[in-house]
Symmetry: none
Subunit: 411 residues, 2 copies
Amino acid sequence: MKAAILTIGDEIMIGQIVDTNSTWIAAWLDLNGWKVTRKLGVRDEIPEIIKGIDLCYEDADLVITTGGLGPTKDDLTKDALCQYYNSKLIWHEETWSRVKEILKRINREPSDLHKVQCYLPENARIIPNDQGSAPGMMFEESNKILVSVPGVPHEMKHLLSEKIIQLLPKGEAVEHRFVRTAGEGETVLAEMIEDIESALPSDIKLAYLPSFSQVTLRLTSYGDGKKERMDVLQKQIVDRLGDLVYSTSLDISLSKSIGDILRKRNETIGTGESCTGGYLSHLITAVSGSSDYFIGSIVPYAYRMKTSELDVPQEMLWEFGAVSEEVVRSMAEGVRKNLDVTWALSTSGIAGPTGGTPQKPVGTIWIACSGPNGTKARLLKLTRDRVSNIEYASIAALVLLRKMLLEEGEG
Amino acid sequence: MKAAILTIGDEIMIGQIVDTNSTWIAAWLDLNGWKVTRKLGVRDEIPEIIKGIDLCYEDADLVITTGGLGPTKDDLTKDALCQYYNSKLIWHEETWSRVKEILKRINREPSDLHKVQCYLPENARIIPNDQGSAPGMMFEESNKILVSVPGVPHEMKHLLSEKIIQLLPKGEAVEHRFVRTAGEGETVLAEMIEDIESALPSDIKLAYLPSFSQVTLRLTSYGDGKKERMDVLQKQIVDRLGDLVYSTSLDISLSKSIGDILRKRNETIGTGESCTGGYLSHLITAVSGSSDYFIGSIVPYAYRMKTSELDVPQEMLWEFGAVSEEVVRSMAEGVRKNLDVTWALSTSGIAGPTGGTPQKPVGTIWIACSGPNGTKARLLKLTRDRVSNIEYASIAALVLLRKMLLEEGEG
């Protein structure tokens, strides 16, 4: 079953924004057994959109389009779809009720432009959007399906995964198995499982998906009757990689896997973040239910807050500087004591692009973890941009915590 | 002058990686006066690549392809190009010398796979790659140009911007102007500038690019001699939208624009975040130089931290609950006093997906801002997923702060 993705919008074509929508949709289609053969981006121009649909249909049974569904003049997808499917826009009362309801929740009055969004192609199946004003649309013609969803990522994901998936024909059987790891790079992992990888049957593919301090391994097979073999292979890899593996499900992130351990042990955690500025705390609290174990965080950006909130001695700050093993340890211990938590993480460093010195260049970041049996610190020397350095250091702190949690668990 | 981008690689088509290459190339082409009419992604399969070139050429004078130039079996771009241009691979001694030289620099021995990379299409113009083993290639046929570069981002950028740009015909002049706004949606903005938009000359386009609580307006024109008219139009829109406008540059985010105001006034800020869990603080500290005005943040996830760190009275928590106007105000005022800052932001709510009640459903989020002239609170009723709710509430808090900053400035 072949599918194509059509992304509509000038902002994509002038390189103003990165098209993460089509990446998400491609992965989602793949997971549901659809082979994506073509990804096409076109401008907000009716002839281009129409041509784009043609090109996508050429070799696919299903086309997913995103974008161009807003109420303003540059949004032309609906008009293009009407032309393509020889239809016209008609008033859709149900959408109007839903738009009014959404606006009421946020104390807004509906306007004429909101009404524009309620004129929809007569021959489309309308898919109610619970998260925004533009609904999804589905067209069927001679066994080919086109689905149009808004370009706003959370609305697109909501519509596809909650409303549209059940309306599509079932894709080809596809099996994926995941092994999510933290703490080692792709090359080391590949060496650890070299023999397993070499012995893989030709109909099963292994991919390494690296991200900051983490690598997710994905096994993929197409066709029926492969479940058992896939399970065996996954187990082989999990056994070989041991403690590096934190989950075998895409739904369980590193920070969720840590939360699950803490909840089970009835332990708590808090953070003290200087250079990561709240991002570490965000990673922990992005997990639903994190209030079960997360007590809170102090982000002591200014020196004086490191002293007042985390009891870092002023002389220590002067002698070693905020970016030092001494201070990052003291911060972790301060969090552990002042927030009264089982585990405390801390970060202090120079995220860049300015603020570096010859001794402590940009990317010098200390992380520490303090627990029942003591405190450990690690020095990172990063070379990325500011936000990537912040993200990397936050993940590295979680990796350090996970390692200590496992060690204590064994002791 | 029209251009198209062809991205080659299975990893793009299964959604394994985000295609940032084509974004960079699109922006680079746009900046150099090439109108990108089509962006196409295809799999590592020879017929698909050939079909892809056809589709790109259909409406473009220039095609840039990336990917599929490595030495392994899944890299098929060179073979496809030979078929397309009716050519054959021949040994390229100059590339071999360059590959040996690069390998020598990193103390590696050349292997058979490196030799594979020195067989190149006979009729291509070879563009030496100083940063990797696969060179760029350029094909010219009946006034149309195809450029093939490796998918490794830094090699691709190096080849295009240092070696290839001077070989291409000069593109058309293009002008962009941006107006970035916060606090109102697309619909309201469109109404506010309806007359300006209707009166736009047909050769100037206006686009609305919405994100959480923000909309960026983009004016675009092609051709020479439009700078002045673009400036006039931009100013008209800026004047009309007034305080909603926070910047006219893509490099200046909402949080940077706020930081610039604070720095100029020599004022400081701190945050107290419950439901946003550090994300607000992350937005502020994602800006380089934020330590000039950002003192720090308290993330009091547990009740006890709201009391111990921010002096929220325990009775208040019991009487009204953590998610209440009273508590969010008390949090902001606690931050302002305890962190000794000019401005304090606070958030408290139910990000979801669990934890809602009939009185306070998921998405009920209070935000507050406390400044020299008092405290203001706002209730949000959000309907997104957990992380989107967190992001939206954080931006909304910044919007509230900006509004109060401007009001105080006027007083």
